[in-house]
């Protein structure tokens, strides 16, 4: 009991003494990253410990990764506990909420990449350039945006596809041209 009481006292002193500077958003995201790392590396450690590890002599194939995973889990746990215990002094100005357009951009990028194998590189690039440019600057003229998207795609296809023989996926064009 006295040991637990001692620990509690120490933690309380630690809580008051340590005042660190950090923004609210940074702290929230830092905790998210620590949790992701702890869960992810714990799973990888489980995989490393349960899979067949070859070793005729010397260090087994899963030994080195296991050491690294354990160190990472310990460091992330220390970081997370420290974040929860330390009294943070929020000196950073109140950050505005992340704009929806940033998340939309990320979604568009993922959809764009997925469309490479459906519409092909050319069509998906034209579509992406139009939608992304228009979404970021709604005031842009449709005609201008479309013209820039088509000419930029043509330029990229000429440089990489024709000049440097990069074989882009073009299922739709191949289907249309037979």
């Amino acid at each position: 009991m006295s040991f637990i009481y001692g620990c509690q006292c120490k933690l309380a002193t630690f809580k008051i003494k340590e005042i660190r500077k950090m923004g609210k958003t940074e702290k929230r995201f830092e905790n998210i990253i620590f949790v992701i790392f702890i869960i992810g590396f714990s799973y990888l450690l489980y995989v490393a410990r349960t899979s067949e590890s070859y070793s005729f002599d010397g260090v087994a194939s899963m030994a080195f990764p296991s050491w690294i995973f354990i160190i990472t889990i310990v460091l992330c746990s220390v970081g997370l506990v420290r974040n929860l215990l330390i009294k943070w002094k929020e000196t950073a100005p109140q950050e505005p909420k992340t704009d929806l357009r940033i998340y939309l951009s990320l979604v568009f990028i993922i959809i764009y990449a997925a469309l490479w194998n459906i519409l092909g590189f050319c069509f998906s690039t034209i579509l992406f350039l139009i939608i992304e440019s228009k979404m970021l600057r709604p005031s842009c003229d449709w005609k201008k945006v479309t013209l820039i998207a088509i000419s930029m795609t043509a330029f990229l296809v000429f440089i990489f596809g024709v000049l440097f023989n990069v074989d882009f996926p073009e299922p739709l064009i191949e289907l249309l041209l037979g």
């Binding site: 010397g58 990472t72 940033i102 990028i109």
Partner: protein, 497 residues
């Protein structure tokens, strides 16, 4: 080689305007490839090889070497202006180049990058033409203990590139090392963490990871920026771009030290510009009287990174030309290009084709001069690209990034990897985790693990083998000194805050 042979080789290059034009074109294309995010120098040389089929061997080599030198130097352009490294070796340039650009000194930052690259190339060129056989013999004698110690030394630099938080830097570095475990075990050959995917058997592509971690978060973070608010072209006069000779002279030690580090790292096979840049940056920070300003726009950071990564060019050519062993990934592609043109690098090359060797040496110098001139006069154009409205610029950067990750192996899986790293990288950037240690861990993790285990096997399971190898021991001692001094410095700065 006698004097007449050397003269004949030199004049075969500088006396032929067509050859000079091809070198200029190669250097220009290299700069463009290096400057565009997602497209690297390796990719530039690989894609240009088919274009050189119809050219004579000397012209073809000139063009490829120009692309190599231009490509490595060009990486600084996007690293400085966009905070997206154009090539893996320009990762370190981001640390000080972009903050300097944000202070309105974009042109001067690019000027420092150009001239440091030039000095780095020239120092490594001098070593190439003078003591290349001796250096090649020394560095190719590296065994597993030396490689493991070198990788450990490289990993000890994580602290220097961690930014404000050491613990975040170490976690990021360990994440990078963990990524390097994916694929085939370097000793026993069994599959690790591939989860049944054929695509993961070859490991994580460094280029895909780099593009994902740097390009996508930067594009997302800057997509709401107002047009032209970051960098304007006010200071775009040659006077402002070119660092005065007095200033360059004041940084002579950093230039020389970084160039030598680059050359030596370049000679060691299977290393590269990124490792050299990390080591040179760390050393520059340690020797600087103003180490606190590193990461906030200190020109010494740009000088260290650029002089060392271009120093690697000449260094990597030393074992390639003298022994036929490529020093880094670009020279591996370059070696293939030389073989296609019927040139077999190795000791026999110096004996059988001295004019060709003298021609290659001249080409490197000519390409270096072209690279500096193209950069100085191209800075106006580079900086003005930032005046392109953000909505168009960001959209095109996304497309270029995905093309870059796809084109290197023609694999759609690499595009998916880029997206995964991009999404996770965005979260990491929000939590202010440094990206450089991840790249360092990914590049060095596999090398350290494989060589360390091999060294242990050589030593019969005992780590004493590291104490019996002088070079390995020196690397380990320096690494421990770096780690201890970093911890002390970190404690002191925390106490001061």
């Amino acid at each position: 080689m006698n004097f007449a042979t050397i003269l004949a080789g030199v004049f075969s290059i500088i006396g032929n305007p067509v050859t000079l034009l091809w070198i200029l074109l190669g250097t220009f294309l290299g700069l463009v490839f290096g400057a565009l995010p997602g497209l690297s120098a390796t990719m530039g040389v690989a894609l240009l090889i088919p274009l050189t089929f119809t050219l004579s061997p000397v012209v073809a080599i000139g063009m490829m070497l120009g692309t190599y030198i231009g490509g490595i130097a060009g990486g600084a352009v996007s690293a400085t202006l966009l905070n997206i490294p154009g090539t893996p070796s320009a990762v370190v340039t981001c640390l000080d180049g972009h903050p300097m650009a944000m202070q309105g000194k974009a042109a001067r930052a690019l000027g420092w990058a150009a001239f440091s690259s030039g000095w780095g190339s020239i120092v490594s060129w001098i070593l190439l033409i003078t003591i290349s056989p001796f250096l090649a013999k020394m560095c190719t004698g590296f065994g597993s203990p030396e490689y493991a110690a070198l990788a450990f030394f490289g990993l000890s630099i994580i602290a220097a590139v961690s930014g404000d938080s050491l613990i975040k830097g170490i976690i990021a570095g360990l994440f990078g090392v963990s990524l390097s475990f994916i694929g085939i075990d370097p000793i026993w050959g069994d599959l690790r963490f591939t989860f049944g995917s054929i695509n993961l058997m070859g490991g994580i592509s460094t280029v895909a990871a780099l593009i994902g971690l740097y390009s996508i978060p930067q594009i997302l973070n800057s997509c709401l920026d107002k047009d032209n608010e970051k960098i304007t072209g006010k200071d775009l006069t040659i006077k402002n771009i070119v660092p005065p000779f007095k200033e360059q002279w004041a940084h002579k030690l950093n230039i020389l030290r970084s160039s030598l580090i680059g050359t030596l790292i370049g000679i060691i096979p299977a290393t590269g510009g990124n490792i050299a840049a990390f080591i040179a940056y760390d050393q520059a920070k340690r020797f600087s009287k103003d180490s606190e300003s590193f990461g906030k726009g200190n020109p010494d950071g740009i000088i260290a990174s650029e002089a060392s990564n271009n120093g690697v060019c000449g260094g990597a050519l030393i074992p390639m030309l003298t022994l036929g062993i490529p020093g880094d990934s670009v020279t591996a592609v370059l070696l293939g290009g030389l073989l296609i043109h019927g040139i077999q690098p190795g000791p026999a090359l110096f004996a059988n084709s001295p004019i060709l060797v003298a021609g290659i040496f001249t080409t490197i110098l000519v390409a270096t001069i072209f690279m500096v001139l193209l950069q100085v006069f191209g800075i106006k154009i580079f900086v003005k690209t930032l005046n392109v409205p953000v909505n168009y610029l960001n959209s095109v950067l996304v497309v270029l990034s995905l093309i870059g990750s796809y084109a290197i192996r023609g694999s759609f899986f690499d595009v998916l990897l880029t997206l995964c790293f991009g999404t996770f990288g965005y979260l990491l950037s929000k939590a202010k985790f440094p990206m450089a240690p991840i790249v360092l861990g990914l590049v060095l993790g596999c090398m350290f693990e494989g060589e360390f285990r091999r060294a242990l096997k050589l030593g019969g399971g005992s780590a004493k083998i590291f104490l019996t190898r002088p070079i390995a021991l020196v690397f380990i001692l320096i690494a421990f000194a770096i780690i201890i001094s970093t911890i002390i410095k970190s404690k002191k700065s925390r106490a001061a805050k």
